[in-house]
Subunit: 145 residues, 2 copies
Amino acid sequence: MTVIFSKKCEYGLQAVLYLSAKGIGEIVSADEIAKKLNIPKEFVSKILQSLTESGLVNSKKGKAGGFSLAKEPSKIRLIDIVAAIDGLGMFNTCVLGFPSCSPDHPCPLHEKWGSLRSSTYNMLTEQTLDELKEKTLNKIAHLEA
Amino acid sequence: MTVIFSKKCEYGLQAVLYLSAKGIGEIVSADEIAKKLNIPKEFVSKILQSLTESGLVNSKKGKAGGFSLAKEPSKIRLIDIVAAIDGLGMFNTCVLGFPSCSPDHPCPLHEKWGSLRSSTYNMLTEQTLDELKEKTLNKIAHLEA
DNA sequence: CTTTAATCAGACAAAAAAATCTGTTTATAG
DNA sequence: CTATAAACAGATTTTTTTGTCTGATTAAAG
């Protein structure tokens, strides 16, 4: 099987969307996130720690501590989270794995894939957390099932 | 890092494109493919064996043996190779990893990603080996570098 | 018929990704 | 102050992916 984002990145995106749905400044524990999203607690905790280092998330230690967004949701783009976790390699390496793929020695899919990849990149760059809030709330409402 | 296709699938696509570039019916050894494409020989050999089981490739044992396409290049689509190696999971599982993602309980990216994914699927379905032959030949000509 | 060069089969090894565990530090609440 | 609940740090384990090795089988060529 193949996948666009690593599991780490999927979980990271889910967690950040969850944070944004709770409202700005709201502090949420890794435990709550893990339970609601059905993610291993220690794992999501690690991911949020790394996003804290990246400056996308704030953390507060001690009792009643947890995580919150470090910026306004309108200032956090999906690509920022992807870049922090998976990096942007998928947007500049050859889809067929040719190490030597370049505009002057393109692989057979260079153009076709290039344009799809750009569309994907643009989508992730345009989508900010605030724009997704309503959809995120809807989704979260149905997670109990 | 993330990736669209697994290494196995990348190598499989490269190898099949290589076969198609050599002309229909032409038999090529795993050794030659491995050397030209800079892929571990045993690995590409395994991949071609599996594609043989899938009916996309023919194999011939013994001296002067090797692999060849099992169908006309115009009848082999890229999606066939992807399906045989990586499966089609990436085209029907949630991009954010929500197990419960569906049209009635969509994830926040459901529509936007869905349309990009369809475009990708369509591209892989439309592209057959014969259509890529010229580009493949060009690429192969530059692999020595 | 014997040598050679190939696929094939299946175990094995190494590396990467995903997940878990153990314990420490920190801050709040009682 | 003390108990508690959280992040934090880092080692460890498990699983998956990637890659390697050994030998058996097969077929062509001399």
